[in-house]
């Protein structure tokens, strides 16, 4: 009864919660089988594919290793268990490669002590190590050292003759003696000591050195080539598993330094026409020097991208881009700095009155730099020096950007993608808001034209993208890409635009 009184004091909810606290009931015994069947039928294919890629990579690396290796022995070095490693080091040679096992050993070193018959005179040491801060599984650093040895081959067992006999054999170019073998061994020890520089105590590379030392004599003296391959893998909790698909939006600016090739012959033809010069006037060298005073273009762009991560390292993305580019350029167009016009028949014609352009002829004669040579020739310096071509245009493009990326991930949240990019652009609209030839050019020749350009253009480039993984699905990106137009945009008959620039994009991506 006292218990009931206690219960009365408890709230209604508390009593019910208590009643079910720790309660257990067994469902039917074959329920797990049903769950397992359902799980099997709904297991994600992406995971399997990713696993397949992983194993393909492993087999590929293994194959590369085994291709040159006839016999291998395996030494597994455990960071915290040097004793077991020592025992294994003395194990029999196995036909399996340690490369296969290496990813299973996070933060530890797997050593492949491989040997093969050495038909040539080379002997070497290979060391390959991951950057310890990489969160992706590919080895990133490889140190390779190979030392050339004399052309003689090594005896399986050193000859046991007298020093004199050995010396004679050496003279004949025959076998190495024991001392030669010892010298090689000493050399190899030195090389290995040099090569296996311990980056830190944590990765246990240091502990390999005595193993390597122990392995040397037998191998060297049995005419074997030795390869040591060692690398560090990030531990499982440090690995970064990217999502395969993503969609992203980007917003960016592109600053370009467009090179406008001034097509002077076209300009001069118009100039001559404007001044009613003869059509066949020789204007080839009329302009002798040009210089760009300033030029820039600024583009404002927005992208939507779709991407696929083939492997933890490699990715591809493509999408659509809308870009508005403002371009401005002013050139200094020095017609002539110093030039003898006697070679220009049309000017002579002007002076002789053969061309009905008295105003222009008078203008030439009146120019302060005009110097008559007295023989129907004249010299002018800095004629028309102030003439400019000022161009202000706006281009609108629809582009298809494509990028291939290689991912580096030194941090778990922050990664870097090395990008190779290609982009095809369709110019959908353009307008030249100002096209101005100043100074000596007649004012009637000022243009305000809108030019319709139906040109496709291509640009290629490369850059780097920083990627911050905000959470499982969302990431923020900042990319810088340098690009070059490989097909010029024909702006109009006076200029050709060849943009070369730098773009910076800020974006967000959703990974699923």
């Amino acid at each position: 009864m006292s218990e009931m009184n206690k219960d009365f004091e408890k709230s209604f909810e508390a009593q019910w919660q208590e009643a079910f606290d720790g309660a257990e009931l067994s469902p039917r015994s074959d329920l797990w089988d049903s769950i397992e069947t359902q799980l099997a039928s709904s297991s994600p294919t992406v995971e399997g594919g990713r696993q397949g890629l992983f194993w393909f990579y492993i087999v590929f690396v293994w194959f590369l290793g085994i291709f040159f290796i006839q016999k291998t022995s395996r030494v597994v070095a455990e960071k915290n268990n040097f004793a077991s490693q020592t025992n294994k080091a003395q194990a029999t040679v196995l036909p399996t490669s340690a490369v296969l096992q290496t990813p299973n050993i996070p933060e530890n070193i797997s050593v492949q002590q491989a040997s093969r018959n050495a038909p040539t005179q080379t002997m070497g040491v290979q060391i390959r190590a991951n950057l310890p801060t990489q969160y992706l599984p590919t080895p990133a650093v490889e140190v390779h050292h190979r030392a050339n040895l004399p052309t003689q081959t090594y005896l399986p067992n050193p000859p046991q003759g007298t020093p004199k006999e050995e010396k004679e054999e050496g003279k004949q170019g025959g076998w190495f003696g024991r001392k030669a073998g010892e010298r090689i061994m000493k050399h190899m020890k030195k090389l290995i000591k040099k090569a296996i520089k311990t980056p830190s105590k944590e990765n246990a590379v240091e502990s390999l050195t005595p193993l390597a030392m122990r392995a040397l004599p037998a191998s060297v003296m049995s005419k074997r080539e030795i390869n040591y391959v060692a690398y560090v893998e990030p531990s499982k909790d440090k690995r970064y598993i990217p999502k395969p698909f993503w969609v992203g939006i980007q917003r960016g600016i592109a600053i370009a330094s467009p090179k406008l090739d001034i097509r002077y012959e076209a300009y001069l033809a118009d100039y001559a026409a404007a001044h009613q010069l003869q059509d066949n006037a020789d204007l080839t060298n009329f302009f002798t020097e040009t210089d760009d005073r300033y030029r820039y273009s600024l583009a404002n762009q927005a992208d939507i991208r779709f991407g696929y991560q083939f492997t933890p390292r490699w990715q591809f993305s493509a999408g659509l881009q809308y870009r508005v580019e403002f371009l401005e350029q002013t050139t200094n167009a020095f017609f002539v700095n110093y030039y003898d016009y006697s070679r220009h028949s049309f000017l002579i014609d002007i002076l002789e009155g053969n061309i009905e352009n008295p105003n222009f002829a008078q203008a030439v004669v009146n120019h302060p730099t005009y110097r008559s040579n007295g023989d129907n020739t004249f010299t002018m310096s800095q004629f028309n020096q102030q003439s400019l071509i000022h161009l202000s245009s706006q281009f609108e493009y629809i582009g298809i950007p494509m990028q291939v990326g290689y991912t580096l991930r030194p941090f778990r949240k922050l990664g870097f993608v090395l990008l190779g990019s290609a982009q095809v652009d369709k110019l959908i609209r353009s307008a030249t808001s100002s096209y101005e030839l100043r100074d000596d050019v007649a004012t009637t020749y000022k243009l305000n034209t809108a030019t319709k350009l139906s040109t496709w253009s291509w640009q290629i480039g490369g850059g780097i993208q920083a990627e911050y993984k905000y959470n499982e699905h969302w990431g923020l990106t900042v990319a810088g890409i340098a690009s070059q137009n490989i097909k010029p945009i024909k702006e109009n008959k006076y200029v050709i635009v060849r943009p070369r620039g730098l773009q910076v994009n800020v974006g967000a991506k959703y990974m699923f």
Partner: protein, 209 residues
């Protein structure tokens, strides 16, 4: 103490090293990690660890044992498919219970929507908390009582009284108004109190559903 990996003979799945479930006693985190990697043995371990407790949860929400088993099955499939979303900021069993509850709500959602809401004020005739006790019943008997409640009452009662959700949360979960949630709970409470105190000896679920 972590043993050397080689000695355990683990394997790699999806670039992650998985410790074998049969060789070592896994911690909960390791078990979750292995389940995320679709290690079937680990998944079975998790199932065996929690299926009986979760079956009780499922039974509380279900109208019959068969339904409860279906709900439990769906729940475990969801659990294994979404375990990577478990943030480890709450106890695992709480997270699992929520999944079972949500699965049950989804299981009965159509049926609940087909049932007209009857939240009349007279259901607010409350009985004092101190007039009864559950201690004389075992939980199986109490389960039977809960299952006799009208469907929506049953859901609201489970969510409020046992799971500890607030009425505004329940309203959102069941897509009903907060007032409806309160009235349904009052009705459930009243019915259960009557059953428990013997004032109402038998209430058939057909009368309400």
């Amino acid at each position: 103490v972590l043993q050397p990996f080689g000695a355990l003979g683990g394997h790699v799945y999806n670039n992650r090293y998985i410790k074998p479930s049969q060789d070592v006693l896994m911690s909960e985190l390791e078990l979750i990690e292995a389940c995320i990697q679709h290690d079937r043995k680990a998944q079975k371990m998790l199932y065996e660890q929690y299926n009986r407790k979760l079956f009780v949860v499922s039974m509380r929400y279900a109208r019959s044992r068969a339904d409860a088993e279906d709900i439990l099955q769906d729940s475990f499939v969801k659990i294994f498919q979404n375990l990577d979303k478990f943030r480890n900021d709450c106890p695992l069993d709480g997270w699992l219970r929520r999944i079972v509850a949500n699965t049950a709500l989804k299981f009965y959602s159509r049926k609940m929507h087909q049932t007209p809401i009857d939240d009349i004020e007279n259901h607010y005739e409350t009985v004092s908390d101190t007039e009864f006790t559950t201690s004389q019943y075992n939980f199986k008997e109490l389960l039977g009582l809960i299952q006799q409640l009208p469907l929506r009452c049953q859901m609201v009662f489970n969510l409020y009284a046992i799971e500890g959700y607030q009425h505004n949360e329940i309203a959102e979960m069941l897509e009903i108004s907060e007032g409806t949630s309160k009235s349904q709970y009052a009705r459930a409470k009243q019915t259960l109190q009557k059953m428990l105190t013997g004032k109402q000896s038998a209430v058939t679920k057909e009368a309400y559903v």
